[in-house]
Symmetry: C2
Subunit: 133 residues, 2 copies
């Protein structure tokens, strides 16, 4: 196996400049969500200590919790071996990360009979959100 | 917020047919790796109960552990709210998921001084791998 130099940071030359970022609850290990970051979102996350993503659908930075107050305080950041995926250990403020009203976006479990809701709703999204989560 | 019908399964019309898939240790919650799945990889994962990804670099299915024996036995699968990200709860067989010889691919932590190795090496990748991990 050829030796490769260790990465200096996320490799935003990959994935058309958008790398997947996992937000994991720093205390419980629960995976809260997956979103994408561009270099600007990553830099702002480092600078502010709050998770900032890049919204592919809206084509702009997505400061998680800007509207809802459900910010993600970043405690640690890890990169994977290829430096093209990012893992954030976060403190999720508020009742949840998901715009559908759940603590984790991964609230649907695959079963032989189809998808089932596998977690309780923790808040009413209609009371919280317009378009910014 | 407009009502949307719940998804029937992963939405492979998104992400050019490749969706990010997180492998998480079912027992400890450790995030082991992130890779991508196409519809065929997802179907084979469901059918076999072992994680199968799609290698973007090699342009073909990637049956995790085919060479190393470090297979991932899938215990549960979750989809996120938009059905465009997949979470696998797995039993990682063997000493680790990472082709660099670590249990998790996320073994590098971001620090103010740069990246640091944050986990012990659990195996010698030279002794295990050619090209299939």
């Amino acid at each position: 196996m050829a030796l490769q130099p260790p990465p200096a940071g996320p490799d935003f030359t990959r994935g058309d400049g958008l790398l997947p970022a996992i937000a994991q609850d720093a205390a419980t290990g629960e995976v809260l969500m997956l979103a994408f970051m561009n270099a600007e979102a990553y830099a702002e996350t480092l600078a502010t200590g709050r998770a900032v993503y890049y919204s592919r659908s809206q084509g702009r930075l997505w400061r998680k919790g800007a509207q809802s107050g459900h910010v993600q305080e970043v405690q640690q950041i890890y990169l994977d071996c290829d430096a093209d995926a990012i893992l954030l250990k976060v403190v999720q403020h508020g009742p949840g990360a998901c715009h559908e009203g759940y603590r984790s976006c991964f609230f649907r479990r695959v079963t032989p009979a189809g998808l089932e809701i596998a977690a309780p709703r923790t808040f009413d999204p209609n009371a919280v959100y317009g378009e910014e989560t």
